[in-house]
Symmetry: C2
């Protein structure tokens, strides 16, 4: 294969997430500048903690979705930049608070901020970022978009309280689980694509399509996350595997196993759910049970269904700029767990 | 004295806080209805925790200030009701998060919610209330008022992070202390009166006057709180006295003592500041030191100065409906520590 062929094939084979990054990179540079400019404070812990999380990266999937949704149409001013930055600040605030809520030690592959600066600072800097997110939205001057974001802020929090209240509750129904997923994860994805479409000047049908796309993608994304917490389809035991087990989270893999595993296996899951000290051997045995009763496969099948709904929502807009990337991103979100 | 005279004199002697309650009671009933209607959720902990704090009362000083500011002019629609409710939700969210930050056991004379429902629920329900506050503001439809509230949300959080970062820091300057006070307390008082004036249709000079009134009243209020945490002028040791000492807060009474008390006394304060296990005898000795070196008197004198600035700001509006009540409320805020 010649160098030219290799290059051509490299472009074609470029992973879809890299295509999304490339497609949105000029705008995301503006978003990043805006984010950095808005965490400035003479109170050192504010930029320290914010930058720690912002530079640790993560893929910035949510603000990229906002930008990509806007680019499908014709964004005129900088609204899509402000909206994308506000979405990322809301997400970062959620991460800071979640770490406190879950008593997590790790975040984005490094120490959780609360382990370095403490719970108090994590709560307060989260509040600061939430305030900044709303200030940016106010400056962008669109009341309707502000309504969408403030509503999702309330829904996300409500969903997390619900998740907390059903932890270790063996009466939890699969519908309860989906309610949590829609609130704690899908609500922000949905807001991200809907405000992006608004900033692009989408008409109401187009906006509804992007809103559905975001919501369904968010559900698929969380289902996959919940499968990955038990190693995904390969059952690979990585560093964070078993966190949900220790926290007693009633995720779909667990709910499926409680209903479908052999009695002794279901009892083993029940006995160890919420045991903060569950060791590697216990986690491995639970993963084995989830694999053998089909819990991980079922979870990923459900994720695939929602990814397909996300793709279907974009079908009528398939010829729009960048639409194919968003369509394939739905596959990517599921395939990362294969 | 006849019954009639007694009644008349009772009205005249009615404590000013009761006059404020009476002056705003029709509107506050609407505010309360709105608050209760906005904490509804099938997720039981959301209304449970919210109502626990909302019905525990507190005086609702901040939303009453919003209503009273509006009533000085001619509020047309229900904006002042929405703004007042949003201010109270923001305040309640702050209380929930503060209890987690300060690891408090008590709030409004009863167990802190975090002692009943845990830190995680307190953080998340605080987030929910913040989201609801912004939703109400969006529904009220005034972008400028939304800007004022979102800015104060960020300022309050930033001020609390600053307070946290200077805890037990003996290099703290009196200016640092005032910066914390302005951010963590005065910012919300200032927003409360400013958005109230806006809802009433005040012109820009009137709005500026109310904004200054709120800011100065807020500073006075916090200075008095910080003196009361050591028993106020009487040095009475009530149930929460000494909390700030145990948390290592660098409040004005402490900063004054460190600079002005006899060497051995200053050393005693330094040695015990931030000692979470400080016992009654230690607290009493610190209170004695603060009384004898004039720290509490100085703090209350500074509070008086700011209360006077609050009153002066309202002078040009002294003939407006209810202005005298707001003017006297400034005295009340200082006198409660006498």
């Amino acid at each position: 294969m010649s160098t030219l062929e290799a290059t051509a094939s490299k472009i074609t084979d470029q992973p879809i997430i890299d295509q999304l990054i490339e497609h949105t990179c000029a705008e995301m540079e503006e978003v990043n500048k805006l984010l950095l400019s808005r965490v400035g404070s003479h109170v050192e812990m504010v930029p320290q903690i914010s930058n720690y999380l912002i530079s640790a990266g993560g893929k910035r999937l949510r603000p990229m979705l906002t930008v990509a949704a806007a680019l499908m149409f014709a964004p005129k001013d900088q609204q899509h930049i402000s909206y994308a930055a506000a979405i990322e600040f809301m997400h970062t605030a959620t991460l800071l608070h979640d770490d406190v809520v879950d008593e997590s030690d790790k975040r984005r592959g490094q120490q959780a901020p609360r382990k370095i600066w403490g719970n108090a600072a994590s709560v307060l800097v989260g509040d600061f970022l939430l305030g900044q997110a709303f200030m940016m939205m106010v400056e962008a001057g669109n009341l309707e978009a502000l309504g969408i974001l403030s509503r999702s802020a309330a829904i996300i929090a409500e969903g997390e309280v619900f998740q907390l209240s059903i932890a270790k509750d063996f009466n939890t129904k699969i519908d309860d689980y989906f309610e949590v997923v829609k609130a704690k994860t899908a609500a922000l994805f949905e807001a991200a694509t809907e405000v992006g479409a608004m900033a692009g000047g989408a008409n109401s049908a187009e906006r509804a399509a992007l809103k559905t796309y975001g919501a369904q993608l968010g559900i698929a994304f969380q289902l996959v996350d919940d499968a990955l917490d038990y190693g995904g389809m390969s059952g690979t035991i990585g560093k964070n595997v078993g966190d949900d087990l220790r926290e007693g989270k009633m995720t779909l893999p667990i709910l499926h196993a409680l209903q479908n595993a052999a009695d002794a296996d279901a009892q083993f899951v029940r006995d160890n759910l919420g045991d903060q000290g569950a060791n590697q051997a216990t986690v491995e045995k639970v993963v084995g049970i989830l694999l053998s009763c089909g819990a991980l496969k079922t979870t990923l099948n459900r994720a695939r269904e929602h990814a397909n709904l996300a793709k279907a929502a974009l079908e009528p807009l398939a010829t729009r700029n960048g639409a194919q990337i968003l369509i394939e991103i739905a596959d990517y979100c599921v395939e990362r767990a294969a």
